[in-house]
Each structure stands twice: as C-alpha cells, then as structure tokens.
C-alpha cells in the first residue's frame, strides 16, 4: 500500500509537470485555434537559452543579428508613414527597440547570474512569440487549421535548429536552487517518499494555473482573448485588435514554456530530449480537451498517475518500457467514450 501511494504521488507530481507543458498548447489553441506543435521546441529553446546565458553569455553573431534586426525595426518605426496611429512617428516604440538592441549587444560573452539569465530569456521568449505571430501566423490567416498545424511543425524544426545553433548540442545541468531529495517530514509521518523538487514544481504549476485562470476570466485582455477564440470576425467587428491579442498569447506561451523548461531542465538536464516532453503532453491534451486549462491539469494528473502505475504494475508483464506509449492508449480509450476530451467543447457539425 505504501509503495502504491509512493508511485501514485510520484505519478501525480510528474503529471503536474506534463500539465505545465500542456498549458502552453491550451493557451494558444484557446486564443487562435492553432494546435501549436512547437511548444516542445519552445520549452527546449527557453531552457537552453537560460543555461547558455548563465554559462557564457550571448554568442556574438546571434546577439549582433538580433540587435541589427531590432535597430532596423526601430528605424522603421520612426520612418514617415509607418509607426503608431495613422502615419505618426512612433518614438516610444523605436526607443524600446533600440534599448533592447543595446542591451543585447551588452550581453555578448558575459555570463549572467541565474535570475538575470531568466529575465533575459523571458524577453527573448516574448520576442520569439511575437515574431512567430508576425512571420508564421499572419501570412497563414484564413488557411485551414491543418495547414497552421503543419506550419508549427516547420516552426518546431526551425526552433530546434536555432536553439542548437546558438548554444550547441551538449547536455547541460541546470540548478534552480530547489533540492531534489525526499522530504523528511512526510517520510517520518507517513513513511512515503515525496521529492521536494516535485512538490515545488507542482506548487509553481499551481500558481501559474491560478494566475492564468484569473487572467483569462477577470482581466480585459483575458476577455478579449476568449472573444477572439470564440469568433475571430465577430471579435474584429467589436474592435478587438486581433493581431495584438495573438502576439500576447504567443508571448504568454513563451513564458509558460520558460517555466516548464526551467523545471524540466533542472529535473532531466537541458538536452534535446526536452523536446520529447511535448510529445508526452499531447495525450494530456487530448484527454483533457484542447480548450480547457482545467482539462490540462486534470488530464496531466490522470496521465501522470496511470503511466507510473502502469509502468510498475503492468510493465513487468510485457517487458517494461511501456511509458513511451501507454499515455496515448489511455487517452485513446478515453476518446472513444468522449471524443472531445474531458472538458473540451462539444462541436455540432452542420452541413
């Protein structure tokens, strides 16, 4: 029984980590109806960027490239006929771009402390998110969802290549200051092993989910997001700036990817295998339903727990290693009963 509890708790906690990745998918799907396959690549990119910045600062060529692009955008913002409102010169925007460009140059070959690296990575991920919206999604407006999905597979390849081109492909450790050892107190009390790292990860995920829920339900932008998700054209008609909203969502997905990347990177080491975490998040996603944050959490818990239990109790019967596909089978069986997932919206097709 005690062993069962241990496995169950371990599974639930790792399930929370899956949810963290699944959250990134849900965010984008809710707001734009795009199934963003690149979330795993974003996680990998975020973790690798943080570690790389801590290790040796920004590599010269990429920082130079980014700074050049930013300066170009700053110039564009103040050129006549572009920029804010109707043809004004947007000095504020230009100033912001220029400041980030200068900051990027300053970062070259300067290792940063952990929090500095996280902050810079956050800015970088927001930039990647906004750029994705601009370069990938906007040209594909009005294409069928399947094309958008395939475009995000292309984006996955691009980001994986970019991450490794920037920082190299070595496996690196990441220490975020949370020890990975059993909590003595729980050990004494119930005799169950619970890792403090897993618990902290679950705590962070809980905070993140709560704040996202508040963001979606209570704030002005959150309401705009839901309106856009519901009907693009209607949202446009009532004056919601569609492009801005999508940029915000992709930036938020970048942020979630950063958090997930830090936790997963600290757990398993920062390496290419991080991208496979996203594949683990997919069954979570279809189990919980694409549109539901709650679904991502509950789905993560179910998948995490059942996967670990299956590995321990069913695994030995068939030779082990079933973790790679068991989650998919659970999700599939579930879908046969409820094709739209646990909390997904039921769509009625009309001819």
């Amino acid at each position: 029984m005690q062993f069962f509890l241990e496995v169950l708790i371990g599974g639930l906690l790792s399930g929370v980590m899956y949810s963290l990745v699944a959250l990134g998918f849900v965010l984008i799907f809710k707001a734009s109806g795009v199934f963003n396959f690149a979330q795993g690549a974003l996680v990998f990119l975020a973790a690798l960027t943080t570690v790389g910045l801590m290790e040796r600062g920004a590599p010269g060529w990429i920082a130079g490239l980014i700074a050049a692009i930013l300066l170009g955008m700053a110039v564009l913002a103040v050129r006549k006929g572009r920029g804010a409102a109707l043809g004004g010169r947007d000095w504020r925007k230009a100033g912001m771009f220029a400041a980030i460009a200068v900051g990027t140059i300053l970062l070259i070959h300067k290792p940063l402390p952990f929090w500095g690296a996280v902050a810079v990575t956050l800015v970088f991920m927001v930039g990647v998110g906004v750029a994705t919206e601009r370069v990938v999604l906007r040209p594909l407006v009005n294409q069928p969802p399947i094309s958008l999905f395939m475009a995000t597979i292309g984006l996955t390849f691009f980001l994986e290549g970019l991450a490794q081109a920037m920082w190299g492909a070595n496996v690196r450790g990441l220490d975020i200051g949370i020890p990975d050892e059993p909590i003595q107190w729980v050990m004494d009390r119930w005799g169950v092993l619970v890792s403090s790292f897993d618990l902290a990860g679950a705590g962070i995920a809980a905070v993140l989910v709560a704040s996202l829920a508040v963001f979606f339900n209570k704030t002005r932008i959150g309401r705009a997001l839901r309106a856009v998700a519901d009907d693009h054209q209607a949202a446009l008609a009532v004056g919601i700036p569609l492009k801005q909203i999508w940029a915000i969502v992709w930036a938020a997905a970048g942020f979630v990817a950063l958090v997930a990347g830090l936790l997963w990177g600290a757990r398993n080491g920062v390496q290419f295998a991080l991208t496979f975490v996203a594949l683990k998040a997919l069954p979570v996603l279809i189990l919980g339903g694409f549109e539901s944050i709650a679904g991502a959490i509950v789905g993560g818990l179910i998948i995490g727990a059942s996967e670990k239990l299956a590995e321990v109790y069913i695994g030995p019967m068939v030779g082990g290693g079933i973790e790679s596909w068991f989650a998919y089978v659970v999700a599939l069986l579930f879908l046969l009963v409820r094709p739209e997932g646990l909390f997904g919206e039921k769509h009625i097709d009309r001819v």
């Binding site: 691009f158 290549g161 009309r350």
Partner: protein, 358 residues
Amino acid sequence: MLYREAGQFKATYAEDQQIFPIRQDRIAITALLLVAFLVIPFVASDYWLKAILIPFLIFSLAALGLNILTGYAGQLSLGTAGFMAVGAFAAYNFELRVEWMPILVSWALGGLAAALVGIVFGLPSLRIKGFYLAVATLAAQFFIVWALTKFPWFSNYSSSGVITTGKTEIFGYVFDSPREKYLLVLAIVVLMALAAKNMVRSETGRAWMAVRDMDVAAEVVGIRMMHTKLLAFAVSSFYCGVAGALYAYAYIGTVEPEGFNLDLSFRILFMIIIGGVGSILGSFLGAGFIILFPIFLNSYADPIAHALGIDLPPGMTSNLELMIFGALIIFFLAVEPHGLARLWQIGKEKLRLWPFPH
C-alpha cells in the same frame, strides 16, 4: 504552341476516361518512363543509384501512401514510419520463416500486414477527428516501434534488435547490383503509382475526397463512413508497408526499429506538404526535394560559408539544415499551400497559351 490540345477530340468513353487525356502528356510520360527504365540505369553512377535514386523512389512510395490518407481522405497521420516498420519487419519474417516464400510475395504480405495494423489504428478515426486523430496516430508510431523492440521474435532474437535482410532473388535471378535493385524498385513504384492514380479517380477516390471535404455531408449523401475511412487507412498503410519492405531490402539492408522513428514520419509528412497535398505527382516532387535538399546543403554550405569568410563549426550544417527546412515548410504553406505540384500545374496552364496569350 507545343502544348495545345486543340484538335484532340474525344470520340469514345474510353478516350474520355484515360489517365492522360492530352496527347502531349502521354508523350511526356512515356518519354519519362523510357528514360527512367532505359537511360538512367546506364548513365547514373552507383552512388547516384544507391544513395539518391533508390531512396527517392522508396520515399515517393511512402509519401504516396501518406498522401492517399492525408491528401485524399483528409485524415492527418503522424505514424507513417510505424507502418513502414511493420512492412519491413513483416516481410523479413515471412521471408525468414516460410522457406518457399517468393520475395515479391513476402513484400506484398508485408504491405498487407501493415494494412491490417493500419486498420486497427484507423479505428479511432470513426469516432474522433482532426487534431485529436493526429495525436491518436502518434500512438501507432510509438507502440509499433516499442513492440518491435521489445519482442525479440520480430527481429529473430538478434541481440541488437537489428535485422539484416537476405538477398533479393526472383525466379532464381539475384538482384544484387544497385542497377538491378533500382530497376526492380522502379517497376514496383511505377505500378503502384499507376494503381494509386486510378484509385483516386475511381468511386473510391471520390468517396475519400468527399469525406475529406466534409465528412458529415459525405455521410448524408450516403457514403459509408466506416468503409471509406478504414479503406483509406488500409490502402495507405499498404503503400507505406511496401515502401518499408523496399526500404529494408533494396535500400538499407540492415534496419532496426528505432530507424523508423517519429523523425521519419515527419520527413514523409514534409514531402507531401512541399510536393502537394492531394496529388500523386506531388508525392514524387516532394520526395525528390526532401532527398536532394540535404545533399545539396551538405555539399554547398561549407564552400559558401568559406566564400563569405565564415568558418562553420562542425555540426552547424545539420542545425542550419533543420532551420532551413523549418523555414521552407512555413514558406511553402504561406506562399503555395498546394505545393510543387500546383506550381507545375500553373506552369502547364501558362504553357497552353504560350507564346500567344490572346
């Protein structure tokens, strides 16, 4: 001027229904086949045959299979490599365990085994659609590779899980050199492509396209959902399975389950995106592009970088390849969602009027 169809009248139903109704197309395709069968084997070097032409044909076949499922029947699949693995390992086992089995039959049986597996993993498509289904097909990918690795029976208890295919012998004739293998693969691929071309313009193909365009409407007009969808999965997996068997026997020689990983599935998906979703020709164009592009990049990236005065660190080319690949996919989807096949079609339209556009 060369591509005018004026004056070509169709007087019988047979003429109306032929695959290439325009005479110039017929001439072109005959010339292409003649070149492929009679000229290329004698002018191409062994390297070209072994490293480019044979994989090109095999991947075209796999892309054709995926195109039937995704492009014609509209069911997005991410498990193509899994079905190829089934074909390869099934063919290997038929060949190994049944003494008298002719190799062509065991390849076909490999395809049939893949078709059966495809039907099983296609069953969820009756209930779930779209992205949910795409994720479900990932289950096939992971499960098949896992099963082939975990049960040593499939690889005849070889310690590393790697199978080594025997020689390819048909009616006592051993297909040994790259040239012979190329001709064999070419013959199979041409036949199967012809079959696919005919299938997609038959009632079956029209039913697939109706399901793709709107399945509810298709059901309303009396298309049997289960029959149509499962047939698409079966036919598609059969093509992938035969491609897998050829991959093992005519191309690589020694394969392991891990070789049929998700990456391979994605590569084949990219082939049909770049080539053209829902086009037989597109499968070939896409496969050619995806095969040739890395070779092109590998041989030219370093010289170009040198000319610009940059030294590429080792491993950078493969990262660049990933990035350019990704960017190309996005570019194609944005600029030409129907792929290279559509460009070809536009070219033909232009050619019909050339050189007098009015």
